[in-house]
């Protein structure tokens, strides 16, 4: 079904080999940012060109691909990237996390635990966790080489001194395999614990910044913290309005202009599966345009 105008997965074979070499190096040095000769892709930088190149490098005809953005399969950019791969590879796609062999994601890790038969590909805008503390690449590379991460700890300490807690909610830095401080891509820190000893291979592609990094299966990933201020994830008072989940990341949806709002799972596959299993949230089954007022009062 693929479009014969271009090579399988768009890129030529030499380019894909170059990407795979970078991936191998990245896997060998967990958390280390490997420079690679990122190509111009037919979607803009910032739309996931790094993730797309990594996926193009590893995908084969038998793979089953899932693409999510903000946790959802039906966001416009996820649809666009999925279509790109359908067009250039003809592979099977899925929305079900456990069916996929490759999951490409922007900003979330699926709620369903991944297995060692799966690869999670992250789209990364700024791969350098130290970038906002030190804009120069020459400096940050040196800091990584020397494991000189004091600046990051000072930043976290200053948060605590000012706010009483660490005021970083996403893009929360982690230390991989006890060595490299690494950027989880701007996933919410809610997802950080999922990275730790994940059975699936985690690959990170940053197209514009020309970096690939990786976290091999079952690797220790520790969110930076202090003994007296341990790492914490977000919690919600509400449950998902559709599937009643209390342990998933919830998006806030504004439902009227009077402050009414509801909370729903950001992971659409997780939510749909729970609803199919019979879990019922307070607003499940409400039809568009109906009953919004009563419910808004109930939740908001």
């Amino acid at each position: 079904m693929s479009d014969g105008t271009y090579n399988f997965a768009y890129l030529d074979e030499q380019t894909k080999r170059m990407i795979r070499r970078s991936i191998l190096k990245a896997v060998a040095i967990p958390g280390y940012q490997v420079p690679f000769a990122s190509r111009e892709m037919p979607m803009p930088y910032g739309w996931g060109t790094g993730g797309v190149q990594v996926t193009a490098g590893i995908i084969g005809p038998d793979d089953v691909l899932k693409v999510i953005d903000q946790g959802a399969d039906d966001t416009t950019n996820a649809i666009s990237i999925r279509k790109f791969f359908v067009r250039t590879t003809g592979v099977k796609t899925t929305e079900q996390t456990d069916e996929a062999s490759i999951v490409q994601t922007r900003h979330r890790i699926p709620e369903t635990a991944l297995s060692d038969k799966q690869i999670l590909v992250y789209q990364v805008p700024i791969p350098e966790p130290l970038r906002f503390l030190e804009p120069r690449e020459t400096e940050t590379r040196k800091m990584h080489a020397l494991s000189e991460y004091g600046l990051m700890h000072v930043k976290l300490y200053e948060d605590i001194a000012t706010h009483g807690h660490i005021a970083t909610t996403y893009d929360y830095p982690v230390k991989v395999n006890g060595r490299y401080v690494t950027d989880p891509s701007p996933t919410p820190k809610f997802d950080n614990p999922k990275m730790d000893r994940m059975p699936a291979l985690q690959l990170f592609g940053a197209g514009r910044e020309k970096r690939i990094y990786a976290i091999p299966p079952y690797t220790e990933v520790k969110s930076l913290d202090f003994d007296d201020h341990p790492f914490e994830i977000q919690t919600w008072d509400a449950a998902c309005a559709l599937c009643n989940a209390r342990d998933s990341f919830l998006d806030e949806v504004i439902i009227d202009d009077r402050g009414g709002r509801m909370f729903v799972c950001s992971d659409t596959d997780f939510c749909t599966a729970r609803q199919a299993e019979g879990h019922v949230g307070p607003m499940a089954g409400t039809l568009p345009g109906s009953a919004s007022e009563e419910v808004a009062d109930g939740v908001g």
Binding site: P44, N77, T169, F190, Q234, E252, V253
Partner: protein, 364 residues
Amino acid sequence: MYVAVKGGERAIENAHRLLDEERRGDPEIPEVTLDQIAGQLGLAVDRVMTEGSLHDRELAALAIKQARGDLIEAIFLLRAYRTTLPRFGYAEPIETADMSIQRRISATYKDLPGGQVLGPTFDYTHRLLDFQLAADGGTHPEPAAEAEPSDAPVPRVVDILNHEGLIEEERPEPAEASVGDLTRDPLTFPAGRDLRLQNLARGDEGFLLALGYSTQRGYGRTHPFAGEIRLGDVTVEFEPEELGFPVEIGEIAVTECQMINQFQGSAEVPPQFSRGYGLTFGHCERKAMAMALVDRSLRCREFGEEAGSPAQDEEFVLSHSDNVQSTGFVEHLKLPHYVDFQSELELVRKMRAAIDTPMKSAAE
């Protein structure tokens, strides 16, 4: 109700249809052809080829048409297409001294071997809207007086200066193989001049223009003179591995700018002029000049000059010159950021709650 984020697939398809309609415009009016774009919007084509790093007038014209005249979008289309082309090898360096000249001017000598050739330039036009052009699209311009074609060599101004040793020698790379290629290897810092020039050649005209301008206004002054600007066709040669000698594969039009800049001299080197270099496909004179200014500014360390201005900061300039990268990252803010924003929302509420509580207890 909760319907806003659903239906993305149909929305995309409809957006694409709308875009096609907008691009076509009023169907009563004839569609613009690629020949018309290539022939009558030639400078737009030149810019798209230069920053798109692909010399193909037809494809550049197609990109401009498809991009509805948005040149950065057209550059992006061309770059994305370029990605899919196999790389056969590297051409021989072009020889601009052998250029068949359409335009050649020097601001440093009143007259010089080869002469001053104005060529097609806006420079001495009065910028008055020409309503004649609006009235009848089919104006037939009067042919310009043909200059007698001359085979006399047109030596480069910098080579003339070089005879006296007044300008720095061009330092060739130690081995040809060491010339970098940032489309094949990621840029690392510090970058050599080869990679800097390649980056600037692909860089955004507006960005380089502003940086070049800033050096003239005192942010890293380089005391430049436009030693020479030349526009014309040069032959491209390629050496196929199996032949063992170079063969001509075509001609391309290029604009070259050699800036001549002051250099005070140092303990090892007597005072002499230094160089800044600009080169583009087609006729992109503004870009070539700006590139030459920025090239010279970025050489500050080489000359032991004080370096504190933006145009002298290699990482700053090279990391932000590419408009396909810049536009992508700026515009990606349009993509959903619900999840990150949700996290920030929670944080701001938490921080506000922390402020509110002690204030309330103080009031009680």
